[in-house]
Structures are given as structure tokens and as C-alpha cells.
Subunit: 224 residues, 4 copies
DNA sequence: GATGAATGAGGCTTCATTCAT
DNA sequence: AATGAATGAAGCCTCATTCAT
């Protein structure tokens, strides 16, 4: 598991910069700083509404410095995507998710952790999902690939571990993608909902998913 | 029912142009032409990537003429949204949906019609959902309001009509929004899925939703 | 003959702008204005040293206007080239060159007219010959093609008309290119020479070429 | 003769660096390495299209190291010029040119050696001639001076050595410059010509020059 | 009424050179 | 001594909107 995360992280600077003479560690740190520095402005103004000048200012970097660690504005969008996947995965690991042996319990726990995390980072997720179309073709390909491997693939793996899952292979595939989709429902389409009751909404969504999958929720799942 | 559609349509030109001297019918027809003419370019290049020149050319209009029927580029985005809601509603009506008396059957039928329609117009829906963030504040407000009234509200009404629906008020509200969300799943996140099996996927999604809502699917629902 | 000139001129706006809705006449006039307006700055600072802002200012146009009539800075370089070929050809025609029936006399006259014209426009020719390498691949191809057809081709035609020219086909080909080359000698490499004696230098160059070609100069050729 | 070459070489580092503390020999060697390392990139991308980073990378040096041996990017252009003159002169010397006593034979031999050398180094010559305009004023002055002294001056000397040369002083001056000019004809304007027949073209050019100068070619000159 | 030429601020990106490490 | 990260001005180009014709 840990090795997958490492692979994921290492990919970041690989895909963004190729310059031979470059301190890779520094580059990674700076890219991290860019993502963190840029987030607030990007969430507020959107990707197209934010200029490179805005981003440089928000990161406390000069434009020139910025361009040492990215090679185009699109790279920032790309970094936002990989960053999102990384921190999502990290949260799952920190949540002790991988210490649960029962696969159904694991699914329930993963759903709750995921939805809570995504809700906490709702600005980020709203940004990611509405701006992903603006990635250029090559970056988009990589991001979708990573998503398929790491996020959808994660749920695919969870479902596959459940013995006697009453779904066909094709249904499982749809379900894996659908679960990811439903997990971002609150940031993407939750504006009509009472934000004081998020906890209840998450409970409902988890129940909804389990029923949809014809699974019984484990005992005491709400205690999570 | 028909009166709701009328109200929806009438809103379009109201919000876009205020000039009293304009023939309202002509304006509506031209706006229709703009939306239809612009769609292909917009889907291909995205809203920011498409210039007013591109749109004028694609509509076979001069830029001047274009600006007689819209007052800013943003209006076009707004028109795309209202247009989408309109044709969605129209399809539902044409689908004979309002002649079904059993509320559960009506829900099943509405889901199928909706998902099929949305899949047929997947470029449009992808566009709408990824570009909605770029509406300016006022247009956005109106679009969300319309969506809440016409689309979410539509599902809200359907659920309310089901006697003994085993959901709390809060859960119903979440569910109405979630149903709309799931109905656009295929265009928004279906890229991993085999496009030859869309029919199966729609079936699965409908079953998923019904189970999620704790409802039994009506007999013969697949025949639809 | 006149038809060749027309063809040449018409090519200019064809290659530079494709936009469907564009007054072709206006475009041609504006492009002419651009070439004429930009020349002085370009000669002084070179192509790379001159910014689009400089050029716009020198032409009395806004940058936006400039870009209605060109589609990139490179286009200006391209226009300079075609413009040069045009005015060179125009001068030859005005010089009554095509009313001379004896082919050898025609050559002598063409050489003198050419060299005089090129010397008068020495800044332009210096610019053209030293900056041509900076044309992008496609424009370069077109320019070389035009040069081969119109300028080198012109000399090729003159040589071909001379009965009993004591040169092989291969030698004629070299000679045609060499004549064009020598005709720009003064602007390109004349800085060591006394600019008061240009007339003499031209005479010498013409004699040099005729001797090189094993041709006798026609009687009274100096009077031209 | 040798002393002229030495003087030429010594000038290089003199003009480029003034820092007294630098080992002159090391500096010369490094500058040599810079010219040789940078050539390929420069020919491919042109002077403006090549960044200092590109050059440093191509030379296998760090940017810092590069700036120890040059003081500005322009210096590199300057070094390319002096380098060109040096290797040209070197080739002439190696070609045994200075062992020929008959002045007309010497001219013929020099022309052939020159043209062959220039053709072999056509990328370099094309570069030199098209980029010389971008030298800053002071460097340009020096380069032109060196050219006048070493290259044109070389031909001037050869012509002066020919007894009974049927040219006036003014004509000789033009001729010296013209000979240099014609010797770079193939790289600069030879693109229309069949590159398989370069040998023939050189022969023709030499004959052309000799006839132009009213000189008889020495017996057996083709055997060279 | 209809056209499309004109505006000009602002977008992204590059790069020669310096200098802290 | 040697490195390459950092600077920031300046480069080319776009485009929503207006308005003279």
C-alpha cells in the first residue's frame, strides 16, 4: 500500500519538469508550496479567472521562480489533481483504514472517511471536478489514468474483496465509478442542503450506497 | 404542467434582454439559433476557449447581430443552461411521462427517460456541468434557482407523490438532489465504462437508485 | 508579364490571412501600410530587436489593429519579402526594360536597373537578406519559392533568351543565382567601399558579370 | 604570415575579457570549447532562439562557469566570428597555400581552398553572415575591422601581388570585397543548386571570378 | 439596421544575468 | 571555486465589446 503512494508522489515532478539539472527534492517542495499557495485564489476565481501573476503573488514567488518549477499554467492544474489524490489517500491511511480486516466494514469506513475528507476539502473538490476539463490532452490522460488506478481502482479493489458480492463484473465496474462520483456529491451538488446536517447527509449517502450495492451495513457502523 | 414549461421558457429572454422594443418572439428564435449554432464549437473548445468571433461564425451571424440578441458572452452560457432544462423537460413530456398514474412507475419512467436523454446529449451535459462555475453571480443565482425549481423540484415532487415513502423529509431532500446528480453520472464520469453497454448501465443505475430509496421497482420496468 | 506581377501581389494577403469575413482590399492596403510604416524601425533595430509595440506605434496603429491584418510577427517579415520582390519587379517594368528586344542589351539594362534599385533600397535589402533565416519554415518555403520563380527565374529567363550563350545548363543555373547574389553585393558587403563612387562600382560589377558569363557588353551600355 | 595569425588569435581573449587575474591560456581553451560546443545548437536555433541555458548545456558547463569565460551572450557571437576567421586562415595555411610562388596560381589555389572550406562549413558561414547584424556596435566594429584586415585584406594582398593586373585601384578594392562575397555564395544562396555537383559549381565560380578579373587561369588549375 | 474594424488592457511565458550557498 | 535558483522586465498575442460607416 505504502509503495503505491510513493509511486504516486514520485510521479508528480516527473510529469511536470524534465530539465536535467534540477534539485528534485527542492522541486517537489516548491511544487507543494505552489499548490498550497495557489489554492485559495484558484478556488475563489477559478482557473481561468486567476492569472499567473495572481498565483505567483499568492505563493510569494516571482513569476520567474514559478516557472522554474512548472512549465505552464496547465501544470498547476495538473499538480492540483495529483495533490488531491495524494492527500485523499494519505487521509485514508491515517484513518487506520487498512487495519480493518472485514471487507464490508472496510468499505463502510472508507466511504465515511472519504466523504468527510471530501466535505472538509469541498472547495478543492469542487475546483478539481469542474476544472478537470481544462487540462490539456496529455495531462488529462495522465490524470484520468491516475484516477482510474488510484481512486476508482481503490473502490474496485474493495468491492472485489467482498465475498459473495451480488453484482456482475460489469455492474461492479459501474459501481466503482459511481461510488467515487457519489462521494463528491456534497461539494458538487449540495448547495440546496442544510450545511448544519452534513453528518446526517453522509449517513444517508452511505446507506444509500450500501442498499444500492445490496449490502448490509455492518453493526455499529454509525459509531465510526 | 404545460404552464410550468411556459414559465420556464418565458424567463429566458426576460433575463437576457430588457430592451422593450424588441420583438420577443424573434428574440426567442434568434436565441434558440444561437444556442444551437454555438453548441458544437463550445463543446469542442470550451467556453473560455471559444471567442465571440467563433460563435458568430458558427451561428452564421455577424458579431453585431449577435449582440442584438445577447448582451454579453455570459448570456450565452446562461442560454445554454436554460436551453438544457427546456429540452430535458420537453423530452419528458413527449415521453408520455405525465400519462402514468402510478407514482412509482412514474419515477422509474422518468429516470429512464432522463438518463437516456442525458446520455444522448452527453456533450451538452458535460459542458453545462463543468462550465456552470463560470456564470457570473447573478446568472448563476438564476440558474440554480431554476434548477432547484424545475429539475430537483421535479424529483422532489415525484418523491412526495409516493405514498409511504420510507424517508424522512431531510432524506427526501438529499435524495432529490442525489437523483439529479446520478442522472448525469454517465456523461460526467462514465469514461471508464464500455459505451456499448450503456443500456445495461442505465438499468443498473435505476436499480441502484430504487434500492437506495428503499423502493421496489414496478413490474415490467425494464420493458420501458 | 503584367499578369505575373498581379499573381505575385495577390498572393500576399492570401498567405497571410485566411479569415473569411475580411475586406481583401482593405487588408491589402493595411498590409502595405504596415510594411511601409514598419520599415524604418526594422532597419534600425533589426527584426528581433523591434517589438510589436514598436511596429504598431511606427505604423500609427493599435496592436489590436495590427493583428487584424497579420496573424503573427513573422507575417511582417514575410510581407517585407514579398513587398521587396514586388517593388523590384515594378521598377524593372517601369524602367522600360521589357521594350528592349536584344536579349544581351536586356540583360545589361536589367542588371543596371536592379543594382541601382537595390542600392537605393540598400537598407531594405540588407534587412531582407540577413533576416530571411528567421522566417518560420512555412513562410520561408514560400519566400524561397517566390524568389526562385520571380527573381532567379527572371535571370534564368534572360539567359535562356540569349542565343549561343556559352554556358552549360548547370552553369546557367549557377549563374542565375549568382547574378541575383552579386546584385545585392553593395548593400551586403559594400561597407569598405567609397559610397561616392557607387556609379563606378556598379559599372565594374556589370562588366564583371558579363565577362564572367563570357558575354560582350553591348555598345553604349554605359549610357543607360 | 604566422605572425598575423598569432595576432589574430591573441585578439580574441583580449576583446572578450579584461580580468587580469585570468589564466589567458585556460581562457582561450575554454572559449574554444564554448564555440565548438555551442555551434550545433546555434546553427539549429539561431542566435536569438538559443538561450544561455541551451548553450551552457550544449557545452557541458554550468551557467556560472560559462560566465567566467564570457561577459555577455554577445561575446559568444563575437567568438564565433573570430573563430571562423581563424579556422579559415588555418585551413589556407595547412593547404600549403603559402608555398606557391606564382601569384596567379596562388589566387586560384586560395579561391578553391576557400570555397571548399566554406562549403564544408556552410552552416557556420550561413550563421555568421546572417547573424552578424546582431553584434553590438563595438563588437561589430572589431569584427568588420578584422574581416577587412584578414579576409578582404588577404585577397587585396593577393591581387596586389599580381603584376600587370588590369584593374584600377578602385576596381581592385571592389574586387577584393567581391571575391570574399562570392566565396560564400554557395552556403548563402546555393539552395536551388544540386548539392551533388558542388565540385562543378566551385569550378564555375573560380572561372567566373578569373574572367571577371580579366585573368587567365593557370594551366592545370582544375587538378588542385 | 447591420457590419466588422478598432481598441488596449491584460493574458502567458522567456531569459540574460546575478549572487547566495 | 562553482552552481543553478531567482529576478522581473519585456516579449508576443487575444478578445469582449463598441461604434463609425
Amino acid at each position: 500500500m505504502q509503495e503505491r503512494l510513493d509511486k504516486m508522489q514520485r510521479r508528480v515532478s516527473e510529469h511536470v519538469l524534465e530539465s536535467a539539472s534540477l534539485d528534485r527534492d527542492l522541486a517537489d517542495r516548491k511544487q507543494q508550496a505552489i499548490v498550497e499557495g495557489a489554492s485559495a485564489v484558484l478556488f475563489e476565481k477559478g482557473f481561468h479567472g486567476t492569472s499567473i501573476r495572481d498565483i505567483a503573488a499568492a505563493c510569494g514567488m516571482s513569476m520567474g521562480q514559478l516557472y522554474h518549477y512548472i512549465s505552464s499554467k496547465d501544470d498547476i492544474l495538473y499538480l492540483m489533481h495529483t495533490h488531491t489524490q495524494e492527500i485523499w489517500y494519505q487521509r485514508l491511511m491515517e484513518g487506520g483504514f487498512d487495519q480493518i480486516s472485514d471487507p464490508v466494514e472496510r468499505l463502510a469506513h472508507a466511504l465515511r472517511l472519504s466523504m468527510e475528507f471530501i466535505y472538509e476539502n469541498r472547495d478543492l473538490y469542487l475546483f478539481i471536478f469542474t476544472e478537470s476539463k481544462h487540462l490539456d490532452r496529455e495531462h488529462l490522460r495522465v490524470v484520468l489514468e491516475l484516477d482510474d488506478k488510484n481512486v476508482v481502482g481503490f473502490y474496485r479493489g474493495l468491492l472485489a474483496d467482498i465475498p459473495g458480492l451480488p453484482l456482475s463484473a460489469e455492474e461492479s465496474e459501474v459501481a466503482s465509478n459511481l461510488i467515487e462520483f457519489i462521494s463528491v456529491f456534497l461539494p458538487l451538488r449540495g448547495w440546496n442542503l442544510d450545511s448544519e446536517k452534513t453528518r446526517e447527509h453522509v449517513d444517508f449517502l452511505i446507506e444509500f450506497v450500501f442498499r444500492g450495492l445490496r449490502l448490509e451495513l455492518p453493526l455499529g457502523w454509525r459509531a465510526a
